[in-house]
């Protein structure tokens, strides 16, 4: 297994575990997580609710300190930029949609008129034209999530972390967004960690699928999944036998974790 010093690893966890202090004792949410994510990989973490997926992401982002083991994010990658799409897109309510989308750029540098035009173009691509000057409270949950994704990708990050970004979006829009999202990620070549509980989403997006067990979450199975790397149509992909096969495998892994509870 590659060590944290290995140059070809962007994110590495070894022996990672985490406990939360709660009244009446500690809750162990993660244990024995060993994983290495190579540059440019779209890595999907799929698992049942409450298995610690989000916690794992927060540890990788450095928002929390692990209670066991280590998590290392490549230093130069960190400097080049990390973007984060939180679960319930909590961007800033006093900003308009466009201003929120520019947050990622603003953190890195002073935005220019070119940045503004680029963002306006992205609003068009994501079907948000006309909502640029709407305040955060006037946008629907789906729109907010789209703005959060535009924001994350606009800063041209080297590492992207997404925490169930599409869970609040209706089914039809989600299929379209997934195509756009996958295309953008592969175009940017960004190393992505994508957390979801949706198996179909995981199979369509992931180069590697990590299946997590129920709490305390640990890695139950790793499925390399490069068959769909260059397909950007989530509807067509669903119909292929390879997709069905992978779905069955991940489903069996997850079903086992559910029985466990």
């Amino acid at each position: 297994m590659n060590g944290p010093q290995d140059q070809h690893v962007d994110i590495s966890c070894s022996g990672l575990g985490h406990e939360y202090l709660r009244p009446g004792g500690t809750i162990r949410v993660l244990k024995n997580i060993d994983l290495n994510i190579k540059p440019g990989t779209l890595c999907v973490l799929v698992g049942p609710s409450g298995c610690g997926k989000s916690t794992l992401l927060r540890l990788m982002l450095g928002l929390e300190e692990p209670t066991e083991g280590t998590v290392t994010v490549d230093k130069t990658r960190k400097q080049e930029g990390i973007a984060y799409v939180p679960q319930n897109a909590m961007l800033l309510p006093w900003r308009t949609a466009l201003q929120n989308a520019s947050l990622g750029i603003e953190i890195k540098e002073h935005p220019t008129a070119a940045n503004r035009n680029f963002l306006l173009g992205r609003f068009g691509t994501y079907g948000l034209r006309g909502f640029e000057d709407s305040l955060w409270g006037d946008l629907s949950g789906g729109m907010r999530q789209q703005v959060a994704i535009i924001c994350a990708l606009a800063s041209n990050p080297r590492i992207l972390m997404c925490d169930e970004p599409f869970s609040a979006i209706d089914f039809v829009s989600r299929l379209q967004l997934l195509n756009q999202f996958k295309e953008d990620c592969s175009l940017l070549g960004v190393t992505t960690v994508f957390v979801t509980h949706n198996i179909e989403e995981a199979i369509f997006l992931g180069d590697v699928i990590y299946v997590l067990s129920a709490r305390p979450g640990s890695i139950k199975a790793i499925h390399p999944n490069l068959v769909f790397k260059n397909s950007f149509n989530s509807v067509k992909v669903r119909e292929t036998p390879e997709f069905q096969e992978m779905f069955r495998r991940v489903w069996n892994d997850l079903k086992g974790t559910e029985d466990h509870i």
Partner: protein, 266 residues
């Protein structure tokens, strides 16, 4: 304007009743005045006593105090979020001083600022400072954790987090404290005029009441009510535009929206 019709009707009925009672029992005017006698005294002061001059002086004292106290208090409260080590030392000290009734410091202030307009501004600034300070430091601490974390995760420096999340995020508290301070700045100016003054609405009230001229004291009080309502409306106007102000403060120029101060959406 339609929503004010019931209010005006109630005021009119109350005024008429007050007037009627004072006509039936004229001695009541000595203790509580009557609308007509108050109006008469107000007219007399405007004609013979340069009422507008007193009005402007009290207004200037209170407004200057409000600006100085609110702005410096808010800046201190927000800055102590940024300098957390200093905050542990200075927050308790400032909150301690702020909880002392400000009149306690009035004798010292006479020595420092004399008995002129500076004293009234200082008293108004002193009271408003501590309200603004405690409100803005609470505001800074109550900015949603998620807002800070999104910026943190994307690698924002503490300075960027301060300007892009803390300052705009606590603006609701800061502007809310300004609204609270409308009352406190007038109180500061008024009490200052009670201590020593030759001009101002507080001076008019004090002089009229020492001559047992109740209608005149109440007429001067009307001036203070007018000031309070005017300040409150201004503060309300600003408070309703807090999103726009937050954008001006924290969003780079090139990303500013088409909103303006007068055509806003809240």
């Amino acid at each position: 304007m339609k929503k004010y019709v019931p209010l005006l009707i109630v005021l009119l009925i109350a005024g008429l009743a007050w007037e009627l009672v004072s006509r039936i029992i004229p001695s009541l005017i000595f203790f509580a005045g009557s609308p007509s006698s108050i109006a008469y005294e107000l007219g007399a002061m405007i004609r013979h006593e340069n009422f507008h001059e007193h009005f402007v002086i009290t207004g200037t004292e209170a407004f200057s105090g409000l600006l100085i106290g609110s702005i410096s208090g808010s800046i201190t409260g927000l800055a102590l979020w940024y300098f957390r080590a200093a905050s542990r030392i200075f927050s308790p000290i400032l909150l301690g001083i702020g909880s002392v009734p400000f009149l306690v410091f009035a004798p010292l202030m006479i020595i420092w600022f004399g008995v002129g307009i500076e004293l009234k501004i200082a008293l108004a600034a002193f009271t408003t400072f501590f309200v603004a300070f405690s409100q803005s430091s609470r505001g800074a601490r109550s900015v949603a954790k998620e807002h800070v974390e999104v910026l943190q995760a994307m690698g924002a420096t503490p300075g960027k987090i301060f300007w892009k999340a803390i300052v705009p995020g606590s603006l609701g508290w800061v502007l809310g404290s300004m609204r609270l301070n409308v009352g406190f700045c007038l109180l500061g100016a008024f009490v200052g005029e009670f201590i020593a003054a030759e001009k101002g609405l507080g001076y008019l009230v004090l002089r009229a009441s020492s001559l047992y001229n109740m209608p005149r004291a109440l007429a001067a009080t009307v001036g203070i009510v007018v000031l309070a309502v005017a300040f409150d409306r201004c503060a309300n106007f600003i408070e309703q535009r807090r999103n726009y102000i937050a954008q001006i403060l924290s969003v780079p120029h090139v990303m500013q929206s088409g909103h303006s101060l007068f055509k806003h959406s809240v």
